[in-house]
Amino acid sequence: MLDTKANPVAEEIFSGTSSHQDAELVITAPETAQNIAPTIMVQGSAFTDLPEDLYIPPDALQVFLETFEGPLDLLLYLIRKQNLDIMLIPIAEITNQYIAYIALMDQLQLDLAAEYLVMAALLAEIKSRLLLPRQVEITDEEEDPRAELIRRLQEYERIKKAAEELDEFPRLERDVFELFVDTRQITVVRPLPNVELKDVLQAFREVLQRAEQLSHHQIIKEPLSVRERMSSILTQLNTYGTCLFTKLFTFKEGRHGVVVAFLAILELSKEGLIEIIQDEPFGLLEVRSAVRSH
C-alpha cells in the first residue's frame, strides 16, 4: 500500500483534489513500489525525508511540475492549497513540503531550474534562523527573515492575478474582431509632386558642372563635324522656328564643341538657312529657320 499521509507531495498528487487548476492530476498507484535513494543536498546536508515507497511516473510528475512558473509559484501553491495566509506562512512545514517536491524532481532526474534550489536554500536558512534560541534578542533593525520572502510572494501573486485578468480581457482576433469593409469602389486621386523652377535649375546646374568636369578629363573627345551640327540645328529650327542662340551649344563637348556649333551656325547663316536676330540692344540672340516649310 502506498502511504500518502507521510508525504504532502504524494498526498497532493495522488488525491487529485488539487485546488491548483492546472495541477489536477490523478495518478494511478503503481503495483510495485520502488526503493529510491534520495540524494538532494540542501545546505550541505542530504535531505532524506522522502517515503521510500513513493513512486510517481516521471512523465506525470514532469507535467505536474511544468505547471509551475517557478519557485514562487510552487510556494504559493503550497500555501494556498492549505488555505493559509501568506502572512502566516508556516516556514518549517512549507519548507518540508517544498524540499520534498524538489527532491522528487531531482530523483526523477528532471531538469531542475537552479531557481528552485536557491529557494530551497533560502527556506532552509529562514527556518534555521527562526529556530535560533530565544535568548538572542533581535533588534528592531533586523528584519524578520520571512518578511522579504512574504513580500516577494505577495508581489508575485499580484502579478499572477493581474496576468490572469489580462488574459480575460476581450482581445482582438480572439473576442472582438476587426472589420473588413470593401473600399475598392472608392476612386483615389493621387496628388502629383510639386516641382519648383529653382529645383529644375539647380539640377541643371549640376548637370553642367558634371559635363564640364567630363570635358576636362575626357581624353578622347567625340569627333564632331560642323555639318552634323548644322543639320541638327536645322532639325531644331524646323520644329520650333526660333531658338535661343545659346541653346545651340552643347557645353558638354567643351570648348571644341562650342567652336563646332559656332562654326555650324555661321555656316548656316552664310548659306541663308537661318537668321540670327537680336530684338533689342544687348538682348539675347535668337536663331530662326529661314526656310519655312509651312
Binding site: K161, A163, P170, E173
Partner: protein
Amino acid sequence: MKLKHIVEALLFASDKPMSLKALQEVFPELEQPQSADLETALLELTEDYDSHSIELKKVASGYRFQVREQMSPWVARLFEEKPARYSRALLETLAIIAYRQPVTRAEIEDIRGVVVSSNIIRTLMEREWIKIVAHKEVPGRPGLYATTKEFLDHFNLSSLAQLPTLQEIQDVNLPLKEVEPLSQATREQSETEQSSLQETPNPETDGAETQA
C-alpha cells in the same frame, strides 16, 4: 453631407483606429471640424450602433469599429486558425511590464523568480506590445521595457488606467515568533495575528517601507 456620415465612412474604410486628429486631417485645412463636433458625431454613431453586432470603440490609438465580443462564438468559426493562446510565462511577463513599466528584464525576473526566456521578449516585441523606452544607467545599461499603444489596442483598452488595480499588498509586520510546526496552538495564534492585521490594514504601504 453630415459630419456623422463622413466619420462613419472614414472609420469603416480605415484599416486602423483613427484619432480625432487623424479624422480632422482628412478634411481640407480650412474645413476641419472642431474636436467637439467630431466627438458629438462619434457619440451619435456609438448610439446608432447600439442594436448592431458591431460597436464603435475607443482604444488607445483612436476610434474603431469592431465586432462585438458576444458575437465571437460565431465569428471565431470563420477563421480556420485558432486565436493564439499565450503561456502563463508570457502573460505574467506582459503584466509585469504593464504594471511596473518601465522595467528591466532583471526586475521582471526578480518578480517572477525565474529567468525570462528570450523567446517571450522577442514575441512581445514582434507583436509590438512592448518596446524599449530607455536604458537604465547601471552596468550593462539594460533596456527598460514599456507597453505600447498596440498593446492597449489589442486588449481593447484606451489607456493603462483601464487595467484593474493590483491587489492590495498587506503590511508585512511580523512578530518574530516561531510558528512551526503547525500545531493547534500556532494556528490559533495565527488567526489572532490575522485579525489584528485586518483591524489596521495599511494597503498602500509596502511592508519594506514601514520597516525601513
